[in-house]
Symmetry: C2
Subunit: 408 residues, 2 copies
Amino acid sequence: MTEKVSPLAPRLYPELPVLEGVKLASIEAGIKYQGRKDLCLIVFDKPAEIAGVFTKSKCPSAPVDWCRKHLSKGKAKAIVINSGNANAFTGQKGVESTEQTAKAAGEVLNCSEKSIFLASTGVIGEPLDTSSFGEKLRMANAVVKSDGWHEAAQAIMTTDTYPKLASRKFEVDGKTYHINGIAKGSGMIAPDMATMLSFIVTDLAIDNKILQELLSRYTKTTFNAITVDGDTSTSDTVLLMSAGGGRKISSTKDDKLKAFKNALQDVMHELSMLLVRDGEGATKQVCIEVTGAKSKGSARKIAKSIANSPLVKTAIAGEDANWGRIVMAVGKAGEPAERDLLTISFGDVTVARNGERVPNYSEEEASKVMQADEIDISIDIGLGKGHARVWTCDLTKEYVAINGDYRS
Amino acid sequence: MTEKVSPLAPRLYPELPVLEGVKLASIEAGIKYQGRKDLCLIVFDKPAEIAGVFTKSKCPSAPVDWCRKHLSKGKAKAIVINSGNANAFTGQKGVESTEQTAKAAGEVLNCSEKSIFLASTGVIGEPLDTSSFGEKLRMANAVVKSDGWHEAAQAIMTTDTYPKLASRKFEVDGKTYHINGIAKGSGMIAPDMATMLSFIVTDLAIDNKILQELLSRYTKTTFNAITVDGDTSTSDTVLLMSAGGGRKISSTKDDKLKAFKNALQDVMHELSMLLVRDGEGATKQVCIEVTGAKSKGSARKIAKSIANSPLVKTAIAGEDANWGRIVMAVGKAGEPAERDLLTISFGDVTVARNGERVPNYSEEEASKVMQADEIDISIDIGLGKGHARVWTCDLTKEYVAINGDYRS
């Protein structure tokens, strides 16, 4: 584990506002780490509406299975999150750990275990000992508070070098509402979710079906449009909750949703960028924008092929405007592309047009673009109208160092 | 470019036998490198039978287009190979470069330009200046020799740290025949071919259709079953030639082919392993063997998912028997897999069975396996009979160093 903080870490952290009916506690449970908080409890005064999206891994963790199983009811009394152990590939023991945790939380909070949602992150394959979770959750429930967001964001970290928080205010019928979100994730981040956990809560009253529709829709262009290393975690989980009282919005066409939709997209985008900027070993935030592809899906595939290419990512680390490797990555995506129609730009410097280097392009100006810590690379395929954006970071020696010495 | 030789380099190089009717020359053409040979000519006294397999990139290099166009005739008088410039993404100029080179070689050798095959490797996107190739090829043709194999293997190198050669003898009807092969490639190597060039010649007379069938078949389990970084080159080319005189074997069922088939597979496997062992920054050769998958194709996809995972590869670099990351990579392959049926072994140490860590497995013994420079990782999916093997290397800081400073 590294002690260094990402050079792309935010200079200031937002202070998340109190949301009525939502309390949080973070405590030291000693799961793996010593001397830091690693167990987080988010409790809703009244059961919240809940929606979720999860990893596409064929070998999901036990908590992911648990959440999927109980999501259909759409109600959550509490979320229990631990770091240090993913409770993944833990067989029957893993299933029992989730049951034990949910049961313990249900007893502490006097509710059905089915309204307890779980997430675990950390080492894969080690059994998670939950025998003391009853006691730990009792301790946590005794110290819940409304302003526990920053601590919670810290408690769910693994190889993250900084906590990730985002918040937006919005107005509906002259009244101010909020969305608070926290996230974790640094390695094993790929477009089909990531070792990524995120918990987002609003105080606007919205039905869980609407939450689910919007969460699924916006995940495509936010959490699923980022990649650090192309590796997909067993444990990816994003939960969206509404703790708002009163009449629930129950149609996606309700005008009252307008401001919420924008705010939700903003929060999800901001958390996604915080994840990319904390990519293991990252020194650059990179946006790959593909236009002119045959379709949106084709554009996404090409953008991901570029964003996941080790040769492209190492070139970016070396501040090298190496468009030859971009061509390679376009070619290997397997999507319709014609060499002699491609146009490639770094920032506002177009280096190749119609399949050839632009004769008079300035290498100096391209170099300047590469020296910044935010780099936009755009590729026009010249075939259609498909458009997509994917965000990633560079691949550095530090990535290898962090991951060559993780488990031990 | 690194000066270091791979720690996995062979201690001895095979001396390739003379093949009747085959001559080679390697000269300094000053294409990019100074003070080393970078242009190689392989000439056949009589037109050889030829077969080829090429990159699946949608943006192939101009020489790949040229070879594809002229392969249907199945006859080659000569092969011209240059290193230092890939002549890829060079637009109309690239097409003209290939025409110019083939024409120049045709004039020097007094044959049709259509019987000249071409391969280029090196930087992508820079125009290849072939204006002096006529003179250079004349010089080369003046110094062709039968024992030029080692020099040729050196002339086609780019970031390779050692030349790659393999040879086999075999007998047909009491007479001894040979297969000689050379290859280059180090980065941008992926299962669907690689920045990989290979040229293989036999002195047994075989029709080009048979050569093509066998080359395509064996490529699947050799050159297309290796990966260094998952990146697919624009330029991958493997050419198989028969320079043998006399009656040509023209049926794959001909008994005379038996010994040839084995020898060809051996040469292709050996060259593939030489490529993996020279993977940029490699310190370990790794074989990923997947059994029990739903189908052969499914087994291949899972094996590649593991072999291309940066997290798996960095763990191997760190000599960490991190089977959690193997599970992750199985899960992200998207192929049928059930967590609770997986069995994972490092060498002969089984660390996980039926989706759980083997309680009494010896971490010490697993560590010992990881310290070797050849590591076998086997995964049984437990669902069917699909089997596949893929070879790769580890991902080290050296890979990042080599590729963060290549073009400049």
